[in-house]
């Protein structure tokens, strides 16, 4: 009986250690160049950078950050990325999008583009750039199914590393208002004893949440 109790305690300790180590470490940094504020009726748009051949900022991540920025009593009106890209076509496509604030002057020289930006009430454009990379994958899991049932056995682990940067462009002054960077990493585990038990580090969702909250505070001028 005493031996059985010890085994349960050991199992609980192992689970606790695994859960602890499956946590994510997130670091958010902010660099402000000018004051920012958003008034009623004004909007922002969050766009993903997709000019690189090696990677592209995921649509889902851009949408996730937008949802965080738009949520709550201090939420900001965020124009959906696809709506903005289609309406402003062809000015924000991967090959034609302004890469630096100096290029904004060329865009703003086109009356038709300015009218559309004013129609949306765009006060700030936020460029998101980054990706999540998986590394250190190890372990193996085998699954089998037989007449009497099935099950899996084994252990897998991997590391997710997210690096994202948000650059905020002020559309009144056509200059950069600042930047926010977010780095996070976390180790995930997948032990399988009959059933696989995923202990996943929520790296990208933590970065999305952290980046979104910081961006909202930045644009509201509260940090």
């Amino acid at each position: 009986m005493k031996h059985h109790t010890l085994s349960i305690k050991a199992a609980c300790l192992i689970c606790f250690l695994i859960i602890l180590s499956a946590c994510t470490t997130t670091e958010i940094d902010q660099f402000r160049q000018s004051d920012t504020e958003i008034h009623e009726g004004e909007s922002i748009v969050i766009l993903g950078r997709r000019q690189s051949n090696a990677y592209e900022t995921e649509l889902d991540f851009v949408e996730c950050v937008g949802n965080v920025v738009a949520s709550g009593s201090d939420g900001i009106n965020v124009i959906p990325e696809s709506t903005f890209l289609d309406a402003m076509f062809p000015f924000f496509e991967p090959r034609t999008a302004p890469m630096r604030t100096d290029h904004l002057a060329q865009l703003m020289a086109q009356d038709i583009a300015v009218e559309k930006l004013e129609e949306f009430g765009i006060e700030y454009i936020v460029w998101l750039d980054g990706q999540t990379q998986r590394s250190g994958e190890s372990g193996s899991i085998s699954c089998a199914v037989g007449p009497g049932g099935g099950g899996c056995f084994g252990f897998g682990t991997w590391t997710d590393d997210s690096n994202f940067e948000a650059e905020i462009w002020d559309m009144d002054t056509l200059t950069s208002a600042g930047a926010i960077s977010a780095d996070a990493n976390g180790q995930s585990y997948l032990p399988a004893l009959i059933l696989p038990i995923p202990l996943l580090a929520r790296v990208e969702s933590n970065v999305c949440s952290g980046m979104g909250k910081q961006l909202k505070s930045f644009l509201n001028g509260s940090v």
Binding site: E58, F89, P90, F91, E93, R95, T96, Q110
Partner: protein, 217 residues
Amino acid sequence: MIGSTHNLKQLFGRFRISALLILCSTLISCSSLSTITIEGSYPSPLISPLPLTLGIIYNDTFSTYSFTELDEYSGEDQYIINSGSSQVALFNTILPAVFSEVIYLNSADEAADYPDLDMVFEPTIEEFQIGLPQKTRLDVYEIWVKYNMRLSAPDGNSIADWVMTAYGKSPQSNFGSVDAGVNEAAVEAFRDLAATFSLGFTSIPEVNAWLQINNVL
């Protein structure tokens, strides 16, 4: 005893049939040919149209364009990508935004029937390439297209003849099937062409010179 031998033979027979079925299905799946018809919608460019009447010719090769990707091991057709109708839809969206009026022509000979025509445009596809993750070892589907654009006066004299390329990619993780991934990469490539064409048309040296001579710019 005879009964158990009969059962064993029956069991073995069933096993052979099952093995044959599995082998056949594996062979069929290995040599399967997939046809992908590109479908997408394209936004109209937000630009001021040039005050010109353009005649457009989509020749049969262009409007029914199809590319066949071969299997690198067997050399057999692996994917047939039909993009002609989508390319026509793309140009039907771009051109009315770039030019104040567009007239669709079946051939260059029809240009004489339209005295208001300023120029005749005929796009052709010179090369089409596809990058599949299983071949490139990248996490994206890629489409690259090389176009030849021909612009001529209604009398047939050449105004400009230039090459344009289009590139589109789509992350493998976003799509559950090759068809969907290839379709998205192709739509991105066509959007890329539409963007560069609509913003860069007047900057093509020969076109720019013609526009200036005819007091359009």
